[in-house]
């Protein structure tokens, strides 16, 4: 937990940022605001998962269960509101949170008896259980088409009808802010501190008088509640909830978000949510291989950058204050063209392979990196492989220089510590 995050100035700044974002040039369109809304929902979900994994050390492969069940609860409530219940739309996500909490308590009692690997497998099993059940109970889950409702057929709240994406974004942003404050406060209560202790050393926790299973159970239930809240926001945003909301893909996505963003840091969850949402939305337009890229990035992060984007940012920020920063910057500049070449070569190979196997009907001609290619001929393959090999070889030569610059920076940082 960073000390800086406790200062009120940070919260005010965050609130201001949230308020200003939909007016930033480039994001002012409906598409931009819709993207921001999706990021906001993902951020709430990711914060809840950070509570589970980053703060309590519980790796779950089925967290989407609580997101989805919360979404379903919210959308059913919204339907009731459409039918006349006098509940203002901004309060509907609370139904999601309540459902998340309820199911979290029920499933949590079962799953948190063990930690570590077994816990991870159990969450996987429960996730599959709920997903399979969702196809069998159409009255709650709506079958293949899901459940729909309208967010505008509701009593107006302060004159707002939530018809426009802008209003929906502010609703999501407000709940995100509230969720962040609540989770942050929770982490500073005795139970919250014990969550960190259980993450670090569950055995020692027992010897100071606490049952780690109980601590995990509480963390699990709270995380499920916030996941349900995110699900409720999802229901309002899309006005439909389908079975994929409890599915393995969504569980995997939030895991990726939190880990890539930085599992140790509160802010990493938000960063990761924003980054992955953006990738999901925009990258899938450009390439059908985006899941492969995402998987490779994830694997790379796990192996080489365990601190995630947030960790990376912090390391670079602390390196800025050293004298070695110039050497680091120079080595980066030197490596940049070769890194780009390696990536371009690899991407080309991947893209033309995908084209030939998944879209044969689109023909053999394609344009990559502004170069037209005929994928039926051998030369694009050879050319791309060559660029990749040369780039990788050059990077291998430059790597010691980067490593040396960082070692100098690390020495300086340690000397000041």
């Amino acid at each position: 937990m960073t000390k800086g995050a406790t200062r009120p100035a940070w919260w005010v700044g965050a609130a201001a940022l949230l308020a200003v974002l939909p007016w930033v040039p480039g994001l002012q369109s409906d598409f931009g605001r819709s993207l921001l809304s999706q990021m906001g929902i993902a951020a709430v979900f990711a914060l809840s998962y950070n509570l589970l994994l980053g703060q309590t050390g519980l790796l779950s492969f089925g967290h989407a269960v609580y997101f989805g069940l919360g979404g379903y609860a919210a959308i059913h409530l919204l339907r009731a509101v459409n039918g006349g219940w006098p509940i203002p739309v901004p309060l509907v996500p609370l139904a999601g949170a309540a459902a998340g909490l309820g199911f979290g308590i029920v499933f949590g009692a079962l799953t948190t008896r063990r930690g570590g690997t077994i816990f991870a497998l159990i969450t996987l099993g429960v996730g599959e259980l709920v997903r399979a059940a969702s196809l069998m109970l159409p009255s709650f889950f709506g079958g293949e088409e899901g459940v729909t409702a309208s967010r505008t057929e509701a009593p107006r709240w302060l004159g707002l009808d939530f018809g426009s994406q802008l209003q929906v974004y502010y609703l999501i942003a407000a709940w995100l802010f509230v969720a962040a404050i609540l989770i942050h406060a929770f982490m500073r209560t005795p139970v919250g501190r014990l969550c960190n202790a259980v993450r670090d050393n569950p055995e020692r926790v027992e010897f100071v008088g606490y049952d780690p299973r109980r601590v995990r159970f509480i963390a699990f239930s709270v995380a499920a509640a916030f996941a349900g809240l995110a699900g409720g926001l999802h229901a309002i945003n899309y006005e439909i909830v389908t079975g994929e909301a409890v599915g393995a893909t969504r569980s995997g996505a939030v895991l990726l978000m939190v880990y890539i963003g930085g599992v140790h840091h509160f802010v990493g969850a938000v960063l990761g949510a924003a980054a992955i949402t953006w990738l999901q939305v925009s990258l899938s337009d450009y390439t059908s291989a985006w899941l492969l890229y995402l998987g490779l990035i994830f694997m790379g992060m796990v192996a080489f950058v365990p601190g995630g984007l947030a960790g990376l940012a912090m390391i670079h920020l602390s390196a800025l204050r050293t004298r070695a920063v110039a050497a680091i910057a120079r080595s980066y500049l030197l490596a940049l063209p070769f890194a780009l070449a390696t990536l371009a070569g690899a991407a080309t190979l991947i893209e033309i392979a995908y084209r030939r196997s998944t879209q044969p009907e689109a023909g053999a001609l394609m344009t990559l990196f502004w170069i037209p290619m005929d994928t039926a001929k051998p030369w694009p393959w050879i050319g791309a492989a060559g660029v990749l090999a040369l780039g990788a070889a050059a990077l291998a030569r430059i790597r010691p220089r980067v490593a040396a610059a960082w070692e100098r920076a690390a020495e300086e940082i340690h000397a000041h510590a």
């Binding site: 077994i118 816990f119 259980l129 995997g252 998987g295 796990v302 392979a353």
Partner: protein, 316 residues
């Protein structure tokens, strides 16, 4: 009626053996390295695809040998060049690495063979009836599958209990530095273990590719069930994995044959249905429809009754 029972039993046993083939390799890797290999089912899928491809080039029987070997090499490469770097970061990092790997292998399969299922038909050389029961013939390839899985079980039991290498590897799991000080090359041992586990998965894939649809979603469909098997059987226990696989295989296959629901049962007992559409809906689900739930219900039941599994030996 007897036909249904016999065929369900036979098919259930075959499905159970397929699950066992997968879970045994996974248990091998877990027991000896502490790594839960999420990409195991993906290597299984790779085996199915590779065997299809190689069969097209040089025939089925060579493919039966070459495909698992290739999968073993892939496993060795994964450990040597990827996972070896991740061991020092802890078990969570290892699981996550293989989790990402599962995605990547899945996408590579799509990259090579496309998104649609491939026509993985039983090759002519094994496409005959092994025997006939009640007038229906039972295919030989399922018998082959049985023989291969029994062979796997024997191989693993021997490897665990009887060989020096097995003992050394088990020691290396808890005391790698000591084993290394005794002169054994621990990283190389890990590569060997991962290679063998992956080869077993690939072998399962060769046969499994006929029993199931060979398509990019294979791994995601079967993977979770395999994890249920090892949790129910007890983490780290091969006999437990066997029992759990057979249990799930047979029960689920029987369930698919039962076209009755709890509502039918109530009616047969002369009782009325309770009011409330949601409850009615649940009671009207036929057992055959609920079959996919069975492994997970078993998991939940096991967690309530006996959390360490049927024959669990390891703790997390």
């Amino acid at each position: 009626m007897r036909e249904i029972v016999v065929f369900s039993l036979l098919n259930g046993a075959v499905y159970g053996l397929l699950l066992f083939m997968l879970s045994s390799g996974l248990t091998l890797i877990f027991s000896m390295m502490g790594v839960l290999n999420f990409a195991h089912a993906s290597v299984f899928m790779l085996g199915a695809y590779l065997s299809w491809q190689i069969s097209r080039w040089i025939g089925f029987w060579p493919a039966l040998v070459v495909a698992p070997l290739l999968c073993g090499l892939v496993g060795a490469a994964i450990e040597r060049y990827g996972l070896a770097r991740v061991h020092r970061l802890g078990h969570v990092a290892e699981i996550l690495f293989t989790f990402g790997l599962a995605y990547v292998i899945g996408e590579l399969v799509i990259m090579a063979w496309g998104r649609n299922p491939i026509e993985n038909r039983v090759p002519a050389s094994i496409d005959f009836a092994a025997f006939r029961i009640y007038g229906t013939s039972y295919p030989f390839y399922k018998v082959l599958m049985t023989m291969i899985s029994v062979g796997m079980f024997a191989f693993l039991w021997l490897a665990f209990k009887r060989t020096r290498v097995g003992l050394v590897i088990q020691a290396a799991l808890t005391h790698p530095r000591m084993v290394s000080a005794l002169g054994h090359d621990v990283p190389r041992l890990f590569v060997l273990v991962f290679a063998i586990g992956s080869a077993l998965a690939g072998l399962a894939g060769v046969i499994g590719g006929f029993a199931l649809l060979t398509e990019p979603n294979m791994a995601a469909a079967l993977g979770p069930i395999v994890f249920v098997v090892i949790v129910v059987g007890g983490l780290g226990s091969i006999p437990g994995a066997f029992i759990a696989s057979m249990l799930i295989g047979v029960v689920q296959t029987f369930a698919v044959a039962v076209d009755y629901s709890l509502a039918d049962l109530l009616r047969a007992l002369g009782m009325g249905l309770p009011p409330g559409s949601a409850l009615r809906e649940m009671l009207a689900i036929k057992l055959s429809q609920a079959a996919p739930l069975i492994p997970y219900l078993l998991l939940v039941l096991m967690l309530i009754v006996r959390p360490r599994g049927l024959m669990g030996t390891r703790d997390t």
